[in-house]
């Protein structure tokens, strides 16, 4: 099927904001992503659209059957920001009261001139999103949890979020995408995070949408000097998930951490793309993505580290490791380095393998049954990422969920 940008032309009259019109025109000019593009070489975007999602702005009249109990059951913290079917839900949301924390839901559409189709579409069609400002020196103890729920929705959910973290502030985020409807749902979310000097940000993305869940996520992080930002992406279930994560390190002595775990079964497809721009000297970035691939699933990893000429004394490490559980799974990995500075230490590695017979034997020799032994080994492979989750409640919840998905009991 060759997609026509006509469907985008048709919605042009419904858009009022001039920036958004401009973005829509950009998207039309760029055209739909195709597998001929290097960035989309292994992901078939049309397959998402074939589910019949419509391009339009979210409607405020939609009804929903999601209750507060449902959110309570899924939350680990009292700081919540809830979106239902792409619309902010005030009653279900609550946020710690602090004079230096500003939050409102707003249309964050701005003038945008990127070359990314999805970013432009998001800017053109989003009417809602998070605007959150954490003031200088504020330490938020409990994680702020962001829910994207859908139970009655056919349109693409476009949300554009803007998060600003002030100097010396510390904050944790956990983001969940859940689909409770029978019909498929598709989230196209763009989040930009500004991390000021000395600030510390942890962001956990939990993608567990189940069958019929499609997601394309773009996250942009700007880091100032001496800040630390840690983004962990757990892709646990869904049909097609594509994550684009971009770090721009603009201040010296900053550290960026990217961790990811993708757990794939059946014909799930996860595409992780990361880009770290080391623009200044004396910074560090660490990246570890691990994949467990079963069924006929496909995993894609494209990690890119760019060290600009000014970024001397950079340490950048990147690793992608894959465990193949099924003979029908596919992994496409491309760890990429582009280095223009000479006084740097950069390395990357990628592996793909299956469970070692010797490891299985070790456990079996100690009286552990083969199935349990396999389960233990697979779980342990993923645990390296999960144990880096700092909020204890979230970590335990994730461990349980992963054990459940792998069908193992402890």
């Amino acid at each position: 099927m060759n997609l026509d940008t006509d469907i985008l032309e048709k919605i042009m009259p419904t858009i009022k904001n001039s920036h958004q019109q401009h973005s829509l025109q950009n998207a039309i000019n760029i055209g739909f992503p195709t597998m001929k593009q290097e960035e989309w070489k292994y992901t078939y975007y049309n397959k998402i659209l074939q589910q019949g999602f419509s391009f339009k702005t979210a409607e405020h009249t939609q009804t929903s059957s999601i209750t507060k109990e449902f959110i309570d059951a899924n939350a680990t913290s009292s700081n919540r920001i809830v979106f239902i079917n792409g619309i902010f839900h005030n009653e279900f949301s609550s946020l710690v009261n602090h004079p230096k924390i500003n939050f409102w839901n707003s249309n964050n559409a701005t003038e945008s001139n990127t070359v990314e189709f999805l970013v432009e579409i998001n800017n053109a069609l989003s009417t809602d999103g998070i605007f959150l400002e954490i003031g200088d020196h504020v330490i938020v103890d409990e994680p702020i949890e962001i829910f994207y729920l859908s139970d009655n929705n056919q349109a693409i959910i476009n949300l554009k979020n803007k998060i600003i973290v002030g100097k010396n502030a510390q904050v944790k985020f956990a983001e969940y995408a859940i689909n409770t409807q029978q019909a498929p749902t598709y989230n196209n979310i763009v989040t930009s995070i500004n991390v000021a000097e000395n600030a510390n940000v942890e962001f956990y993305k939990i993608q567990d949408g189940g069958a019929g869940f499609y997601s394309t996520d773009n996250t942009f992080v700007q880091q100032a000097a001496k800040s630390v930002c840690n983004i962990t992406t757990l892709s646990l279930s869904g049909e097609i998930i594509r994550n684009v994560l971009q770090f721009d390190i603009n201040g010296e002595r900053a550290a960026a951490h990217m961790n990811g775990l993708y757990l794939l079964q059946q014909n799930e497809h996860v595409d992780n793309r990361t880009l770290v721009n080391h623009n200044v000297a004396n910074c560090e970035s660490f990246e570890l993505y691990k994949g467990i691939l079963g069924g006929t699933s496909t995993g894609v990893f494209n990690g890119k580290i760019v060290v600009k000429q000014a970024a001397q004394k950079t340490n950048a490490f990147q690793s992608n490791r894959n465990l193949m559980l099924s003979n029908d799974a596919n992994i496409y990995t491309k760890p990429q380095l582009e280095i223009f500075a000479d006084d740097v230490k950069c390395s990357h590695g990628a592996t793909s393998s299956q469970i070692e017979d010797s490891e299985l034997f070790y456990l079996q020799a100690r009286g552990i049954g083969k199935t349990t032994a396999r389960g233990l080994l697979v779980f342990a492979f993923g645990e390296e990422i999960v144990e880096m989750i700092k909020p204890e409640a979230l970590k335990i919840r994730m461990e349980k969920r992963i054990a459940e998905l792998l069908n193992i009991e402890f």
């Binding site: 992994i331 582009e338 590695g349």
Partner: protein, 481 residues
């Protein structure tokens, strides 16, 4: 100017010592490319009808293609109508011994350090020399003939071993494989052909020397190497070109075919003129090299030392089709001044228990850009396939760049793929260690670089290893990052 700058300056000013021109009467085709030029080349070579058809087919495919843009190199667009596609030393008469070769030509070879005569007597290496577009002289042909080995120029092979050429040419690199392969298929003027019959172990190293001499001409040679069941051959390739201000084009195709239990070892020392220190001139080296392990237990090994060319675009690859076959790639790529290299390999695992190993060492200095681009693909049927890749980059100076683009595609669960890459400069601690022991900075750098490349150098045949080591020293002596 401090010491570091002085040393760097010296490197920057080191000249290309092969940059001389030989004045030999040339016979050239007019500039430009069209079907008539191809007919002209084909007629000149006295080729059979099928070969001409094959060329024309490639040309027609080429017309439909566009230049690849994905490589990490930047250069002004090549005007393919401004290239001379055929240039040959004027034939005076049939040559039967070395004495009859043009003395000017012999002088050239002496300057290059590959005096044919001397080589013939002393080192026991059979050489096929391709001068501009034509193979000038193939040594040792008779000795090889006794064992049934065919080693001759491509045009001779097309005339005398038509059936073999027809059977294998284009089977590994089809005419429409890529833009430059199609161009080469249409206009290739000569190259080397080698056939090792069943069970024969080639008693000596086979070697080809390529040189572009006349201005404005492109060199398009085509090499076809077939190792029949159980055969073994080690093949060397070397290249130089004169210093010129304009850019010259080199678009070669190399095809290797290894049948059951055969082994091919292919080594290259590439030293085309890299352009001057302002980045003016130099060769555009757009080469398609690919080997296929057609039979079971076959082995193909590529070893390359790349120090020349303004722009390099080269990916010697292995298709591991036979069960238990092995592919290897060892590479040292050195870039200096404004050189750009985008090089690497492809390992396509199709057969069961296939193994591949990639060791790539990139060294960038001056304002150069050095990229490794590789693909490891494990097909679903390639059970128990195994790959190990390592790409290390060494940066000298703060204006150069090193890049890696490794693609890994795995489609089954019983194969193992490992990739690792590092980028760093020569550490101050390393230099300190040497200097503390009374070894001066320059020698220390040379030793560290040699150590860095050792893994690859060890895989070069003796004669080449010496030359390659010298080349490395010339390219990089004393440059401390």
């Amino acid at each position: 100017m401090n010491e570091q700058d002085a040393i760097l300056d010296e490197v920057v000013n080191s000249e290309y010592k092969y940059g001389f021109v030989t004045n030999i009467e040339q016979e050239q085709a007019p500039k430009g490319l069209n079907e008539d030029i191809i007919r002209f080349i084909s007629a000149k070579k006295e080729e059979p009808e099928w070969m001409l058809e094959w060329r024309l087919k490639a040309y027609r495919e080429w017309l439909k293609m566009t230049e690849p843009k994905w490589a990490n190199v930047h250069y002004p667009k090549v005007d393919f109508q401004d290239v001379i596609y055929y240039s040959a030393p004027k034939p005076k008469k049939e040559l039967s011994s070395l004495d009859e070769v043009d003395p000017e030509l012999l002088k050239t070879f002496e300057k290059l350090g590959i005096s044919l005569d001397e080589q013939k007597r002393l080192s026991g290496v059979a050489v096929d020399v391709v001068f501009d577009s034509v193979s000038v002289k193939t040594t040792f042909q008779e000795a090889l003939k006794e064992r049934g080995i065919i080693f001759c120029s491509m045009s001779e092979a097309i005339r005398n071993h038509s059936d073999l050429v027809k059977k294998y040419i284009g089977t590994v690199v089809p005419q429409k494989d890529n833009f430059y392969a199609a161009l080469n298929s249409a206009v290739f003027s000569d190259g080397s052909f080698c056939y090792i019959p069943k069970g024969v172990r080639c008693p000596m190293e086979l070697s080809t020397y390529f040189r572009i001499n006349s201005a404005g001409s492109g060199q398009f040679e085509r090499t076809l190497l077939i190792a029949d069941e159980g055969a073994y051959v080690s093949y060397l390739e070397g290249c130089t070109a004169p210093q010129r201000d304009e850019n010259q084009l080199h678009a070669a195709v190399v095809e290797l075919i290894a049948l059951d239990n055969a082994e091919i070892k292919y080594s290259t020392v590439q030293n085309w003129y890299p352009g001057d220190k302002e980045g003016k001139g130099g060769i555009y080296n757009f080469v398609t090299k690919r080997g296929i392990c057609k039979g079971n237990n076959a082995k193909i090994s590529w070893t390359q030392v790349e120090t020349g060319s303004a722009v390099t675009w080269k990916y010697p690859s292995c298709i591991l089709a036979g069960d238990n076959s092995i592919g290897e790639f060892y590479s040292v790529a050195v870039t200096n001044h404004y050189q750009q290299a985008d090089t690497g390999t492809k390992m396509i695992h199709i057969g069961k228990n296939t193994k591949s190993r990639i060791v790539s060492k990139g060294i960038s200095a001056g304002k150069s850009q050095n990229s490794y681009r590789g693909l490891v693909k494990i097909h679903k049927k390639a059970e128990n396939a195994r790959n190990f890749s390592q790409c290390d980059s060494l940066l000298m100076g703060d204006q150069c760049g090193a890049h890696t683009f490794p693609y890994i595609e795995v489609s089954n669960n019983n194969s193992k793929v490992e990739h690792e890459a590092t980028t760093s400069k020569i550490g101050e601690d390393m230099l300190f260690y040497f200097q503390q022991r009374g070894i001066d900075e320059e020698t220390a750098v040379a030793m560290i670089v040699n150590g860095f490349c050792k893994e690859v150098m060890d895989h070069l045949p003796m004669e080449f290893a010496v030359e390659a080591r010298k080349l490395l020293e010339i390219s990089l002596e004393g440059s401390v990052g």
